[in-house]
């Protein structure tokens, strides 16, 4: 039986690329209903972590469990429970919006998907674009299609990589609400982003990565009390800059 606290469980995960360590001994877990924000500068290992979790990249070592299934050992079972929204949604440009949903339904073997698909189209204001070939959509619209496809099979784990890129203010509000709704429905969610305000609005937990290592991991409340701020965005900013500046000084010192 899957424990509540183990919807995403990462233990001693490391990833090396040709001698370069992108992620080093990372361990964390996400429970149902929690939203974990991955924060860190470029090259911190955020995207590598997300891509490994959803089976795109094999891990070099460690175990990554999605809904109790090891991504490397039982990838199909793990992926059945997973929805992934990449930062740059690459859709099939000869297919319509609806056909993307139909494709996703067939891939995840959903027998009766039309009602859910219609609801998703309506919630993302895509109903009128149902028969539009996706290459004619704006970037924000394509992002919405990718999110609708990822939500269609009602995944227990959802991974977002820069989910708000290219969205207008209305779209941003809509996606944020959708993320909240999914979390309330029991999904474990990880969001990677550079937008601190997004974490402030959504995340229950924060993990700060730098140079492939976890530098802070805890709840928003922990961070606020640690830094002594009442404003979460300022607290995040302070944590972020203290970590990145400290590592800059370390690397400069090492170079002397």
């Amino acid at each position: 039986m899957l424990g509540k606290e183990q919807m995403i469980k990462v233990t001693n995960f490391s990833k090396q690329y040709k001698g370069f360590t992108a992620v080093k001994n990372l361990s964390f877990s996400v429970e149902p209903g929690q939203i974990l924000g991955l924060l860190g500068p470029n090259g911190a290992g955020k995207t590598t972590t997300l891509r490994t979790l959803c089976g795109i990249i094999p891990p070099s070592s460690g175990s990554l469990l999605v809904a109790g299934h090891d991504v490397a050992q039982a990838p199909i079972e793990a992926k059945k429970n997973l929805g992934y929204i990449p930062d740059d949604p690459r859709l099939f440009d000869t297919m319509t919006v609806w056909e993307h949903l139909a494709f996703t339904a067939a891939a995840y073997r959903l027998g009766d998907f039309e009602k859910d698909a219609e609801a998703l189209l309506a919630s993302f204001e895509l109903t009128h674009k149902r028969d539009t070939l996706v290459h004619n959509l704006s970037r924000g619209m394509r992002q919405k299609v990718a999110i609708a496809c990822a939500f269609l099979h009602d995944p227990k784990v959802i991974l977002f990589d820069e989910p708000l890129t290219g969205l207008d203010p209305q779209g941003i509000r809509g996606i944020q609400q959708a993320i909240r709704d999914r979390a309330q429905a029991g999904a474990a969610i990880i969001i990677s982003s550079h937008l601190l305000s997004l974490f402030e609005n959504l995340c229950t937990h924060i993990m700060v990565l730098n140079l492939g290592e976890c530098r802070r991991f805890g709840t928003m409340e922990d961070l606020l009390s640690e830094v002594g701020h009442t404003d979460s965005t300022s607290a995040l900013e302070e944590v972020y800059f203290s970590i990145t500046q400290a590592s800059d000084q370390t690397s400069e010192g090492a170079g002397v």
Binding site: A22, N42, G45, K46, T47, T94, F103, A106, A107, E114
Partner: protein, 542 residues
């Protein structure tokens, strides 16, 4: 032309050359460029050898070749012009989005921009002409005459297409434009009647009829501008060449003038077409087709088949084929249907080694390069496939099935056309060929995709002189051919052994041979699955 634009042109040319040299700096780039150079050297050497001409033209002397050029080149150029009228879409001079942002907002006249673009085109054409000069048969004449003739002819083809396209755009909406389709229908009717007449008249083939048309008074009048360019290739002396060069330059200059005049009337349309073409190029870079649907909306198919996970992948490729490559499939099917009658008319039946080699190049090189309904067009979408809860072998099979069946349908068209037009191809032979064509196509595309996933590369060349790309394409083709021939040899060997041990009937050896080829194809599918699993989606370190 404006001084700044001339400078820009020179800098871009220098940048292009620098890029080529940078390619040579890497080991892979150097090797592929050397491979390309080697193939070109082989073509030149075989062309200069009187016995082993790769192009099979060793038997033609200069006089016979000149006669053929004078007869068929104007006809081909007329055909090209008519095709341009038929498919008149796209901008006549394509400006990239960067050029539009930088140059259209700069202090330049439209005339200067057209001249700038024309200059860039001539520079590219000069390179193509140099290549044609290298591989042209020695009977064609001196290198200088071939170069000049090719250069002027290619410039004419571009300007001629531009004028036709711009005229179409300028007349858009007028009563003349409404006559386009009836005129096309009439031309098609004439072509169909000609083919039918040649079909029912045993002693008069298409070639004879075309030749008669070419030398008739009406044919000569229609073909006058095209004849000038044919004369360039067959000029017997320098003075003749100089005369025809002068005429050709005047024609090209006149066409350029017409382009500049027409451009003023078609600027808006030209901008729209530029944007459309740029977005097409972007899609081509992502594995799309130039012929992809331009529609914004289509009727959505409500459900995708599941078929254990294989269904949605194959379904996606079916939609891709229908909306991305449908016109291309029709063109290739048409070409396939023409192979047997044309080769038969030229006295080189498809059963001959030379023709068989051309058919093989068509099936294993030209077709896969252009018709892309598998992994090769989806490299930028591998993320999606990697995150699907579908077993890798099903994804691989789903990706291959549509491409293989399409290629098989085109192969069947060649076989059917050979059955109709070639006496030596009997029904039994056609059936055997049809049976073996399927595993052969599976083998070809499984190898093609495996190589592509193991060593992924862009699908389109970076300009005319991307020697690394060209070299790699040729090396890939040779490697694939060696593998396919080895598989066919193994299949043949198994058939031979079966025949020697089992008896006189050919059914069992044929079956054993077919099963061997199919088995090798399926084993290659296993290799493809390995390549898919191993494929590293853009290793972004973030």
């Amino acid at each position: 032309m404006d001084h700044a634009l001339s400078q820009l042109l020179m800098m871009r040319l220098r940048g292009g050359l620098r890029q080529r040299f940078l390619q040579l700096a890497s080991l892979r780039g150097l090797l592929f460029s050397l491979a390309f150079g080697g193939i070109i050297w082989f073509l030149i050497a075989s062309n200069n050898s009187s016995d082993t001409s790769f192009l099979g033209s060793a038997t033609l002397d200069r006089q016979a070749l000149s006669a053929q050029i004078l007869t068929f080149m104007p006809l081909s150029m007329l055909g090209l012009s008519l095709l341009t009228v038929l498919m008149t879409t796209g901008p006549t001079f394509h400006f990239s989005p960067n050029e539009i942002n930088f140059l259209f907002t700069g202090p330049f006249r439209r005339r200067d921009l057209i001249l700038y673009k024309f200059g860039a085109y001539v520079a590219g054409v000069a390179l193509t002409s140099a290549f044609i000069t290298l591989i042209a048969p020695p009977q064609t004449g001196s290198a200088l005459s071939v170069f000049i003739a090719s250069l002027l002819t290619l410039v004419f083809v571009q300007l001629n297409s531009a004028v036709i396209g711009m005229s179409g755009q300028a007349l858009d909406g007028s009563r003349f434009a409404r006559m386009r389709w009836p005129a096309i229908v009439v031309l098609f009717a004439i072509a169909a009647a000609t083919v039918l007449y040649a079909w029912v008249t045993p002693d008069r083939g298409i070639i004879e009829l075309l030749s008669e048309f070419r030398y008739s008074w009406i044919g000569t009048i229609i073909l006058i501008p095209y004849i000038v360019f044919a004369e360039l290739f067959v000029a017997p002396s320098f003075s003749h060449l100089a005369f025809w060069v002068l005429v050709a330059v005047i024609i090209n200059a006149a066409l350029l003038r017409v382009v500049i005049v027409l451009d003023a009337r078609t600027t808006d349309r030209s901008l729209i077409e530029n944007a459309r073409l740029s977005s097409r190029w972007e899609r081509i870079k992502q594995g799309g087709s130039f012929f992809a649907t331009q529609r914004t909306e289509v009727h959505s198919i409500r459900r995708a088949p599941i078929l254990g996970g294989l269904g949605p992948i194959a379904w996606r490729q079916i939609l891709n084929a229908l909306r991305n490559s449908f016109k291309l499939i029709i063109i290739f099917a048409g070409l396939a249907a023409c192979i047997a009658p044309i080769s038969s008319a030229l006295g080189a039946p498809v059963t001959e080694a030379h023709t068989l080699m051309i058919v093989y190049v068509f099936i294993a090189f030209i077709l896969p390069r252009n018709l892309v309904c598998d992994f090769r067009g989806d490299l930028s979408r591998m993320e999606i496939y990697k995150t699907l809860p579908i077993a890798p072998w099903r994804i691989c099979a789903g990706q291959l099935v549509v491409q293989v069946l399409l290629a098989y349908a085109i192969a069947l068209t060649i076989i059917a056309s050979a059955l109709v037009f070639e006496d030596s191809v009997t029904t039994q032979v056609a059936l055997v060929l049809a049976a073996f064509a399927l595993p052969l196509m599976l083998l070809i595309y499984a190898v093609e995709n495996t190589v592509h996933l193991l060593f992924p590369i862009k699908l389109v060349a970076m300009g005319r002189a991307d020697f690394e790309f060209l070299g790699r394409s040729i090396v890939e083709f040779i490697a694939k051919t060696l593998f396919v021939f080895a598989a066919m040899a193994a299949s043949g060997a198994v058939g031979l052994v079966t025949f020697k041990t089992m008896g006189t009937t050919l059914v069992l050896p044929g079956l054993a041979s077919w099963l061997t080829l199919t088995l090798i194809g399926l084993l290659t599918l296993v290799a493809l699955q390995y390549a898919f699993r191993r494929f590293a989606v853009a290793e972004t370190i973030d």
